[in-house]
Amino acid sequence: MRLLNLLKIAYKAIVLNKLRTLLTMLGIIIGVASVIAMLAIGEGSKESIRANISSMGSNIITIRPESTSSGGVRASADEMQTLTLKDYEAINAQATLLSYATPLVNGKGQIINGSNNWPSSIYGVNPDYLNIKVIDLQSGSMFTDAEVKSASKVALIGQTVVDNVFPDGQDPVGQMIRFNNIPFKVIGVLEVKGENTFGQDQDDVVIAPYTTVQKRILAIDYINQIMASAVSENDAPNAVTEVSEIMRAQHKISASDEDDFSVRSMEELISTFSSTSEMLTILLVAVASISLLIGGIGIMNIMYVSVKERTKEIGLRMAVGGKGSDILMQFLIEAILISVTGGALGVLLGLGSTVFIEKFINWPTSVALYSIIISFAVCAITGIFFGWYPARKASALDPITALRYE
C-alpha cells in the first residue's frame, strides 16, 4: 500500500518534470546506444576477418623448407630443394592427425588459348588438394590418382583464367590450353572464391597433377611445399607437432639442431590476425568507455541538479508528513524508472543503429551481450546513484531548511 502510493508519487513527479526526465533519459539512451553500436562494429569486423581466414580452410597445415643459419647465407624458401616426395610419403604414411595431404609445386607462366593469353600461376598437386582447400568444382571433374601417376597433361582452371582465355563464353571443359607452351586439356573449372584476406585473387590459378608440373614445366624432382589438413580445427596444433616430429626424423635432425623446415597451421595465422583486430576492438572499447563516462557524467549532472532543484519540493513533502524514507524511496523509484526505461530505449536504439549500419553502410556488425549488459549497468547505476544521493542529503535536512532552499 505504502509502496503503491510511492509509485504513484514517483510517477506523478516524472510526468510533472517531463523535460528533466527526457534530458536524463537522453543521456542514458545515447550512452548505452553508442557503446553497443561501437562494440558491435568492433566485434563484427573481428568476426568477419576470422570468417574470411577460416574460409581459406582453417585446419590447413603447410610444411615448407626453411634455411638454417648454420650454412651462413640464408636461401629463400623457393630455391630450397630440401623438401622431397619422400617427406610427403612419410607424412602421409605416419601422421595420424591429418585427414588429407598433398605435395605442392608451383610456378608462374603464360596461359595461351588461340589468340588469348594470360599470365597466371600453376599449382601441381594431388586430388586431395580440393579437399584441403575446400574448393568445389563449377563443372568438369578433378584428375585422378592414375592421372597423377602417369603425369597426364590435364588441368583445372579458376574463373579469372576462364574469363581471360575463354572470353567468348564457350565451355572450357574439354578444350586445350597451353601453359608455357605445354598443352593441357582442361577437365574442370574451380568454383569462384574471390579475393582472400590479403587481396590475392584466388581464382587466378591453374591446377594440374604435381608430377606433370614437376616434369613438364619446372623440371625439378623436389617439391616446394606439403599441404595437409588436420582432422579438425582443434587438432591442428597437435598435428603441427606430430608433423614436425616426422619431419625431424625424416631429415635426421638431432635434438640440438635447428629445423630445416617450417610447419604452420592456418590457426596461427588467424590468431595473428585476431590480435590485430583485437587492437581495433580495444580502441573501440576505449572510445566507448569514454562515451559511457561522458554519458555517465551527463546523467550525474542532470540528476544531481534536478534533485537539488527539488529541495523545496522535498521540504514540502516532509512538511506534510513524508518521512525521510518515503522521500528516498520516491526518488529511488523515480531514478530507477528513468534509468531503466532510458537504458532499455538505449539498448533498442543501439541494436537499431547496428542493424542500420549493417544494412546501409555495409559494415559487418556483431552485438556482444557483454556490451549490452555493461553499458546498461553503468548508465542505470549512475542514474540511480545520482538520483538517490542528493535526495538522501536533502531528506536529512529539517523540513523548513529544505523549504527555504533556493
Partner: protein, 249 residues
C-alpha cells in the same frame, strides 16, 4: 477540553549567518490548551513565522523546551515528528508552498498520500470536500499558475484541513484575501474550532484577531502581550453585515 496541547518554555531560536547571530526568538514561554483559538500578532520580523515553524515541528528551537500533547519534542524521532505533522497538524505556510504544475486537488491530496491508512477513494473524497469548504469546488483541476493568489492561498488552507488535524497552525492564512473571503475563512476556522480543533493563527490585522479567543503579541522575539478577548466576534454574523455587492466568490 483543558489539556495543554502546546507547552513552551524559554524557547529560543537563533540563526547564525557567518559571524553574526540573529536572535529571532529570545526566550518565549506560553501554553495553549486544547480547543483554544489563539492569534499571534506582531510587526514584520518579530519572529511569528519562526515560532509557528517550531510549533509545527518543521524547525527545532536552539534552546528551551516544546512539549506537544505532553511529549517533549526533543524525545521524538524524525519519523515520529513526520507522523505528527501528517496526522495531527494542519500547517498553512505564509508563502503557500504548493507543488507547481500540479492540480489543486492533487496538492490537497498530498498529505494523505503519506498516510497509508487512507484509501484512494477516501483521499479523493476528502480533498474535494476540503476544497469545497474553502469555496474552490469549481477549481479542482487548476494548477497553481492558473489560480489567483487568493485562490492559491485557499488551496493551501484546504491542504491543511484534509488530514482532519487536531491543531491548525496558520501563517497569515488570510493575507491575500479580500475582506469577504477572509471572513468566510475565519467563519470556517471558528466552525472547526467549535468542533474542538485547536487553532493558532498568525496575522497582522486586528479585525481578524477579534475573531479569536486569545491574542499573543510578539515584538523582537519576545512576548509583550498575552490577553484573552472578552468579546469574540462571530465571523458568520460579520459576514451577514457586509454589503451585498462585495461578492467575491
Amino acid at each position: 477540553m483543558n489539556k495543554e496541547i502546546i507547552k513552551i518554555e524559554d524557547l529560543k531560536r537563533e540563526f547564525t549567518m557567518g559571524n553574526e547571530t540573529v536572535h529571532a526568538l529570545k526566550g518565549i514561554s506560553f501554553n495553549i490548551k486544547e480547543g483554544e483559538f489563539v492569534t499571534i500578532m506582531g510587526s514584520s520580523g518579530s519572529g511569528k513565522s519562526t515560532l509557528l515553524n517550531i510549533l509545527g515541528c518543521l524547525d527545532k528551537p536552539t534552546s528551551g523546551t516544546y512539549e506537544i500533547d505532553g511529549v517533549n519534542m526533543k524525545d521524538l524521532s524524525r519519523n515520529e515528528l513526520a507522523t505528527i505533522r501528517n496526522e495531527k497538524i494542519g500547517f498553512i505556510f505564509q508563502s503557500y508552498n504548493l507543488l507547481p504544475r500540479t492540480s489543486a486537488i492533487e496538492n490537497v491530496e498530498l498529505p494523505l498520500l503519506y498516510n497509508s491508512k487512507i484509501s484512494t477513494e477516501e483521499r479523493r473524497k476528502r480533498a474535494i470536500n476540503a476544497l469545497e469548504m474553502v469555496g474552490l469546488g469549481d477549481r479542482l483541476h487548476h494548477t497553481p499558475s492558473q489560480l489567483s493568489g487568493g485562490q492559491q492561498q485557499r488551496v493551501a488552507i484546504a491542504r491543511s484541513l484534509v488530514n482532519n488535524p487536531v491543531m491548525i497552525l496558520a501563517d497569515e492564512a488570510t493575507g491575500n484575501l479580500d475582506t469577504r473571503t477572509s471572513y468566510e475563512i475565519m467563519a470556517l476556522f471558528q466552525d472547526l474550532n467549535k468542533q474542538g480543533i485547536t487553532i493558532t493563527f498568525v496575522t497582522h490585522e486586528p479585525d481578524i484577531a477579534a475573531f479569536s479567543k486569545r491574542t499573543i503579541v510578539l515584538k523582537d522575539g519576545s512576548i509583550i502581550k498575552d490577553y484573552k478577548n472578552h468579546t469574540v466576534l462571530s465571523a458568520t454574523e460579520q459576514l451577514a453585515g457586509l454589503p451585498q455587492e462585495e461578492h467575491s466568490l
